[in-house]
């Protein structure tokens, strides 16, 4: 059975995504864009990505009875410091994963 509802949803999601990506690229160079829009867009990436990161790092797979996942939080802080220093995508990934594995293998919790 085909999930028409699901396909309709992802097609709408795809149209929205393409529209956002294409917006300024396909717009004529002299088109007027409202100032408030440009001003708020400056902070979109700075807001959305941390809003995705925070619950995933702080709470996911927290040990039973604990509200904070100390290992994931620690590994993320180490990776963030590395990312700020080096700006290397792959290095950040490697340092963060290595820190988490080390803590899980060797840590007290």
């Amino acid at each position: 059975m085909i999930d028409w509802n699901g396909w309709f949803t992802i097609i709408c999601a795809g149209v929205v995504t393409l529209g956002l990506r294409a917006s300024f690229i396909v717009l004529p160079a002299d088109a007027k864009v409202p100032g408030w829009l440009l001003e708020s867009l400056k902070y979109v990436a700075a807001a959305v990505l941390p809003a995705l990161i925070a619950p995933d790092v702080l709470f996911r797979d927290a040990p039973p009875g604990e509200w904070l996942n100390v290992y994931r939080t620690t590994a993320a802080v180490v990776a963030a410091l590395f990312a700020l220093k080096t700006r290397s995508i792959f290095g950040t990934l490697a340092i963060g994963m290595a820190t988490l594995w080390l803590l899980k293998w060797w840590g007290p919790l």
Partner: protein, 235 residues
């Protein structure tokens, strides 16, 4: 970058670290879809139609909860709103690109590509063969992403959970967002967004994500206004 061929290869080479970082991301997103009980063909179709990892992941978790389609699309809109900012930053580079190709290039635009192009090239005078470079950087990213998704979906959750490979996803986001922290207002936006999202994490339908994003943007804008009022000039 003397020929289109060498430009294509240069694009691929410069994008390679980003592509490599996206491999676990794609595998996990695919595995998450099959673990959530999303139809494999629907999950693969979503990946090809959207080609946006963070939004796909958010959509999958909502579809697993049988959330209404409108909520899924709204969440995708919020998660992908940053693409509009990328689009604004990329537009000058593609001023002379044919329209059909502009749509194709828009479809292929991701966080990594935005970061790569805007840091590497001057938008006042983009290099010759930028189109080939862009295609080398994004086409390969597309192929690897779809392949990783397919393996993740059909191989399912074969990777042991104790490897915590899903931790790669926030790490990829971290490596993307930190270089974008240009001013104190950006930091204010990020801290406010993270705090609001954390406090609202237990809300249903991933409303915490929307709350965090909206809070962050408002705080960033207010912070900029306050800083400007203090120094007497626009920051």
């Amino acid at each position: 970058m003397k020929t289109t061929r060498s430009a294509f290869i240069a694009g691929f080479r410069d994008q390679a670290p980003g592509i490599l970082g996206n491999v676990p991301f794609a595998l996990i997103t695919g595995a998450a879809a099959s673990a959530a009980g999303v139809d494999p063909w629907l999950a693969l179709g979503m990946s090809i139609i959207m080609f946006a990892g963070a939004a796909q992941l958010a959509a999958i978790s909502l579809m697993a909860e049988h959330a209404p389609g409108a909520i899924v699309v709204l969440t995708v809109l919020i998660v992908n709103l940053r693409m509009m900012m990328y689009s604004a930053a990329m537009a000058p580079y593609f001023r002379h690109t044919p329209v059909a190709r502009k749509w194709l290039f828009s479809y292929l635009l991701t966080d990594h590509t935005f970061a790569l192009i805007t840091t590497k090239f001057n938008k006042q005078k983009p290099p010759r063969h930028l189109d080939a470079y862009y295609f080398g950087a994004t086409g390969t990213m597309w192929l690897v992403w779809q392949a990783g998704m397919a393996i993740g979906i059909f191989a399912g959750a074969q990777v042991p959970a104790k490897w915590s490979l899903d931790f790669a996803i926030p790490l990829v986001f971290l490596s993307l967002v930190l270089p974008a922290m240009h001013t104190r207002s950006h930091w204010a936006a990020a801290i406010a967004a993270a705090t609001a999202a954390a406090f609202c994490a237990s809300l249903p339908l991933r409303l915490g994500l929307i709350a965090g994003a909206v809070t962050g943007v408002i705080v960033g804008m207010c912070f900029e206004r306050l800083a400007a009022a203090k120094t007497g000039s626009r920051a």
